[in-house]
């Protein structure tokens, strides 16, 4: 954690705040609730109490504005900088500004930024905290969308704020979950954005170790081509096979896409759009190179899946027909990338159309006119045109074992 130079702080326990205006993106009551819950996070671990004023001068003034808004730090349109806040002090000191050009939401799964999470971070500045370089801490400068149910401060955040204000009068110095809104937020797996921490724990959990390249039992969660290369995914790990270098490169998902670090269920490339689509549980993202496209994640139902489909096992795009095949259990769907719609007559049984494939598909790849369907520690080479099985190989055969 860090503090501002000379560690300015409020020299009183009763700190007032006022909401000067509202974003049209959310209901006013939802804005008020997000702000109140954000303050509650900090009051639960300090002696501070936050009192809302509806008029007059408050210590912490909260407002939404876009572009230039009267201070030296103009906002920058959608994305980029989301908000900023000033350390404790007179006048603008303590104030928190939120970029109105962002899409503010009470959710964490759809396009936009969760106001509670961003407000909790900014109010940390309003109370005197600087940024933390601890991945997973609330005061880490990068936005990390997390499940806000049972949200807890990281121990680093608690250590930081208590270095300024001390612990609460009656409670210990351990993190307490915030009392979250009772509305059911759309489903998001708690671990999907940050492999290092579950929302209910204050210390990072250890991710599973990277499997050995030539482990005969090696399996993959998802595989995709990307600009001539092939990426194999397992948990948070990536194996990268490229025609530009000889050896298999070891990476983590977070080294390419930090906000998608939790792993994938399925992935495929649409080469004519220079896009890769990633799937995790009931959401998917479109990515161009390193950039996640605005408006994502979206629910998989927006592709045409029925509501009872909660995740995809595998996906592969056929460049010749512009169709994408999605595998779920023993069935598959065909999606027309040109019309962006599911084809009629699906789902169909995998075994009925892909001769010799009698099981589920964990991951899939198209390369050199063949499909490769991975199941367990084996994979199956299938002719794209005839959809007939050609041969069976070990899953790690791509790594020159």
């Amino acid at each position: 954690y860090s503090t501002f130079p000379l560690s300015p702080k409020w020299n009183k326990e009763d700190v007032t705040y006022r909401i000067l205006n509202y974003t049209p993106d959310m209901l006013q009551e939802d804005v008020e609730e997000a702000i109140a819950k954000a303050f509650q996070l900090w009051s639960s671990v300090t002696p501070l109490r936050f009192i809302r004023l509806h008029s007059g001068e408050a210590d912490i003034k909260i407002s939404f504005a876009s572009g230039f808004h009267g201070d030296f730090y103009s906002f920058d349109g959608p994305g980029g900088t989301l908000a900023h806040a000033y350390h404790p002090g007179k006048d603008i000191g303590g104030d928190a500004h939120f970029d109105e050009d962002e899409n503010w939401t009470k959710f964490t799964t759809y396009s936009g930024f969760n106001l509670f999470l961003v407000a909790a971070h900014e109010l940390g500045h309003s109370l005197g905290l600087g940024h933390s370089n601890v991945f997973g801490a609330l005061m880490y400068p990068i936005y990390m969308g997390k499940d806000t149910r049972d949200f807890r401060l990281h121990q680093d955040d608690i250590d930081g704020i208590q270095s300024l204000y001390g612990p609460p009068r009656e409670s210990p110095t351990k993190a307490l979950p915030s009392q979250e809104p009772t509305e059911k937020t759309p489903t998001v797996a708690p671990s999907e954005m940050s492999p290092h921490e579950e929302p209910t724990e204050t210390t990072p959990t250890k991710p599973p170790a990277r499997p050995e390249d030539c482990d005969p039992h090696l399996t993959f969660d998802a595989i995709t081509t990307l600009r001539g290369e092939i990426l194999f995914f397992k948990d948070s790990y990536v194996w990268r096979k490229s025609p530009y270098f000889r050896d298999i490169e070891h990476d983590t998902i977070s080294s390419f896409w930090p906000s998608l670090a939790g792993g994938f269920d399925a992935a495929y490339e649409v080469d004519k759009r220079d896009q890769v689509m990633f799937f995790k549980d009931d959401q998917y993202w479109a990515v161009n190179g390193y950039n996640i496209q605005p408006g994502f994640p979206k629910p998989i139902q927006s592709l045409g899946f029925p509501r009872n489909v909660r995740k995809i096992d595998a996906a592969v795009h056929d460049q010749s027909t512009k169709k994408t095949y999605f595998f779920v259990g023993h069935r598959y769907w065909s999606f027309n990338e040109n019309t962006q719609s599911m084809e009629r007559g699906y789902p169909r049984k995998i075994a009925a159309d892909f001769h010799g494939i009698y099981h589920t598909v964990d991951a899939a790849l198209q390369k050199n006119g063949h499909f490769y369907f991975f199941h367990g520690a084996k994979h199956y080479e299938v002719d794209v045109k005839t959809k007939k099985l050609i041969r069976t190989m070990k899953s790690n055969s791509w790594f020159d074992c």
């Binding site: 730090y73 980029g80 900088t81 390193y290």
Partner: protein
């Protein structure tokens, strides 16, 4: 990942702005003395890479650039 060459200048400008905003980078405009450092941003890139736990190379590689493009708070990570 494979790079589209004409974007490199754009990326450098983006990185410079990022470092000015969040890492107190100041470009030397007119100096009587030639800078010994041919890449004046290198030290600030190192500082940023160290902050985020990236490999500290001082070079604007893809991981570093990608980290710079993530949505974030407007407060600097380091301050003068």
């Amino acid at each position: 990942l494979p790079v589209i060459p004409e974007k490199e200048k754009e990326d450098m400008q983006f990185a410079q702005k990022y470092l000015e905003n969040f890492y107190d980078f100041k470009e030397e405009k007119s100096s009587l003395f030639k800078s010994k450092d041919l890449n004046p941003m290198s030290k600030k890139i190192q500082e940023m890479q160290s902050f985020f736990g990236l490999e500290v190379t001082g070079q604007l590689n893809s991981q570093t650039l990608n980290m710079m493009k993530q949505p974030r708070c407007g407060i600097p990570d380091v301050r003068s």
